[in-house]
Chain length 330, copies 2
Amino acid sequence: MRAHGEFERIRAMLAVAAGLGVSDRVLIGPGDDAVVIGPGRDESIVLSTDLSIEGVHFRRDWLTWESIGYRAAAASLSDLAAMAARPVGVLVSLAMPPELETPVYEQITSGVAACLDRAEASLLGGDTARSPGPVVIDVVAVGTSGSAVGRFGAEPGDELWVTGRLGAAAASVRALQSGLEPDPGDRKAFERPEPRWREAMWLAERDVMTAAIDLSDGLAGDAGHLAQASGVRLDIDADRLPLAASLEAWSDSSVALAIATGGGEDYELLFAAPPDALSGVAGDFQQTFGLEVTRVGVACEGTGVTWVDRAGEEVPPPAAAGYDHFTDPA
Amino acid sequence: MRAHGEFERIRAMLAVAAGLGVSDRVLIGPGDDAVVIGPGRDESIVLSTDLSIEGVHFRRDWLTWESIGYRAAAASLSDLAAMAARPVGVLVSLAMPPELETPVYEQITSGVAACLDRAEASLLGGDTARSPGPVVIDVVAVGTSGSAVGRFGAEPGDELWVTGRLGAAAASVRALQSGLEPDPGDRKAFERPEPRWREAMWLAERDVMTAAIDLSDGLAGDAGHLAQASGVRLDIDADRLPLAASLEAWSDSSVALAIATGGGEDYELLFAAPPDALSGVAGDFQQTFGLEVTRVGVACEGTGVTWVDRAGEEVPPPAAAGYDHFTDPA
């Protein structure tokens, strides 16, 4: 039997859901045993799930509950972006200790809703429960795609590109860890990351994206995942990486690089493009989205990730110690 | 950045996933940023999510880790059953405290896999993380349906039916709470509940199910949800409810009834059928599935749930105190 408070929280969720637009893909919405999605002709359904746990992925003294909800939703929608899928909505499972009452539940949910609203997506359903410990948020993103892009399509000769600039969220975490107030731009990137699904769909529609991954874990690790899934080696030019403005100003550029490549929570995309395919549309992309897109390397025969300098000479990888998830054991 | 152990757990999950059959609906499977499902012609996608939290939904001293995984998956597939949807697979988000190592992760995952195997469904993906407290399992069920059934379709005059017998799981919990060994049949119902999706699809295909809900919270509460969603009153005949064999033997039948209607975790279905529609196929149903289906009441104009006796006279509802979620506050 569910506790009384649980139905109260479910009602609060349904009220938030009612305030968001609903895609005509949603045939049966929140409040039933399950949600029913009717994809359009020739569309597939794209699903991903992303856990956010207090003390592991977030700390309540660093972020408002609303930002915690926003980031949990953004992390999940970013997985859709990496597949070039359009968000339909999310299901949210939320567990909270009993001392946190309905207002906190509403703040988290309204953060989720703020992120969904920007993506024209809906709150489709979910589950709530009491937690004997940390706040736990599991967000399931639901999207549609006419032609999903995986991690596996990069071929030798493809160029590697990244959207935006890297490291602002990680620089923000590093400041908070040291008890400092982050640079305002870095804090915004940390609190309100923008999942790049519009950008990914734009690129996929122009057939200039053969494989993609979102940088949730950081370029250093995620490039390895793309290389492995595609069966290629990725040569990444460390000197070309577009760093967040605050990191560009750092005196020790090797630490700045380590932060930018080790910390992933700005949710930019790394993607492969056929040779010369992107040069013709990169200007258009930047004008459409007000967002940089930068060529950072190339896919080759082989395995793994090799870091090179502008002259093409191999250099050591950025020090992995630059960024640790703030409460992960070493 | 993810902790090293997390990738180990993800690899373990992919190994389990590889051992299960994969529906041809799955276009891109586990290991990418998201899973891609291509529904068949005229099919919808049905999605539900179900949280299981240690100390709230399960206790590790009452069940093996494998049974804990099995039940988490069964609870989620049961939501698909309530929509008359066929399971495609599940996404599993699993958070564990660091002192529980990979073997526990594998035991939980293999319990999930055992449940999926019986449903011919796949492990589609998921997420793992460290938990600073309880074990948390969130299972997202993914199914397909040509004609989903919601909670909202019951009309005045419809008959109310339930599958199977009620209360075995609740009786098992009650025994464990008292430090007793449950009746073997009750323990099996508690450890290995059977989501009734095949039964629901069979009924939906014969157009004899106008609304349905799975009894995850207990008949007393779930009947109210169906009544509310359908805008009808449900009159339930307390004397007709099919109780688990061990509860039939209880000397105090009012306590037995309270346990059977207050505890829901046998995951049977309550559904509405047009007048006289089921009588012609109930024998077939019982022969096909080896499972009883029992008429327990009727839908009327009005709201809420009314309990009646065999003569149709109103009786008090079963005492709600018969079953409490074992760690819920009063």
